[in-house]
């Protein structure tokens, strides 16, 4: 197996670690934040930066390894960016419909559905 240049390996590793870190923080937020609406932020966020880093790392790795530009990862990002906001929106609407309580010092009101 041919090894990649050291600098490339370094960058790819750094991207993978930061991707894992942001996904972990997203999961932590999911368990740690006080109310439903705040927890909603976790998954939509972790996907954006966490998965983004992993996707870039994957593109770099396979582009350098095979010599062809790896583009399938772009689609992963595209579909993720299309679906994540929609699911967050539907979850928020469902929560408002169920009149989920928000934490007590939240300013403003959810709309009645």
């Amino acid at each position: 197996m041919e090894s990649l240049p050291f600098v490339a390996e370094l960058i790819i590793s750094a991207l993978l670690v930061s991707g894992g870190f942001f996904s972990l923080v997203g999961a932590l937020g999911l368990s740690r934040l006080p109310d439903f609406y705040a927890r909603l932020h976790g998954p939509t966020k972790a996907t954006t930066l966490g998965v983004g880093s992993v996707v870039i790392a994957s593109m770099m790795y396979f582009t350098l390894k095979t010599g062809e530009v790896a583009i399938a990862e772009v689609l992963v990002t595209l579909f993720l960016f299309l679906t994540a906001p929609v699911s967050a929106n539907i979850l928020a609407k469902a929560a408002m419909h169920q009149q989920v309580k928000c934490m007590k010092d939240t300013r403003g009101q959810p709309w009645s559905q």
Partner: protein, 163 residues
């Protein structure tokens, strides 16, 4: 709708479908080009009823600048949210009603998706008449400042594109 039964009711959708298919097929070959053309013609025809008025996008180059701004904001704001999650203090959440200046449904969809993708804000609902967007902000001090920055960064370029 007096448009012809054949042809391209959604030229941009056709182009997008064609390009996405080339990505999916993992490389441009004769077969993938033919299949991409078929999909680009057939899918807009089948789904034309779901597009009440065809989106007319002007100044497509503004979209490139818009995407760069959004990607930059995702990175910056992700770090902010990370610090917030790891810090022990309680976030100051708020529901903010954002007055929409955009009228085009596709423009509003893109704005709402952008708000959801950038960390710290999730768009929760659009009012029935399409003039207000309900946003849940995870941690914000000044509602007016949030509305102003969303208008400045995201809605302005979208207003240029969707008139």
């Amino acid at each position: 709708m007096t448009a012809a039964r054949f042809g391209f009711p959604q030229p941009w959708l056709s182009v997008a479908l064609f390009i996405v298919w080339q990505f999916l097929a993992d490389g441009v070959t004769g077969a993938s080009v033919v299949m991409g053309l078929i999909l680009g013609i057939v899918i807009p025809q089948i789904t034309r009823q779901f597009w009440p008025d065809s989106p007319r996008m002007q100044k497509p180059w503004v979209l490139v600048r818009y995407l760069v701004v959004v990607l930059y904001d995702i990175v910056v704001a992700s770090v902010t949210v990370t610090i917030l999650i790891l810090s022990p203090r309680q976030p100051r959440s708020a529901f903010v009603s954002y007055p929409l200046k955009l009228e085009h449904p596709l423009g509003i969809t893109i704005l709402a998706s952008t708000i959801s993708l950038t960390p710290g804000t999730v768009s929760a609902d659009v009012s029935d008449d399409g003039t207000l967007l309900l946003i849940h902000a995870l941690d914000v001090d000044d509602d007016a400042e949030l509305i102003r920055s969303i208008h400045q960064r995201y809605e302005k370029p979208l207003l240029e594109m969707f008139r």
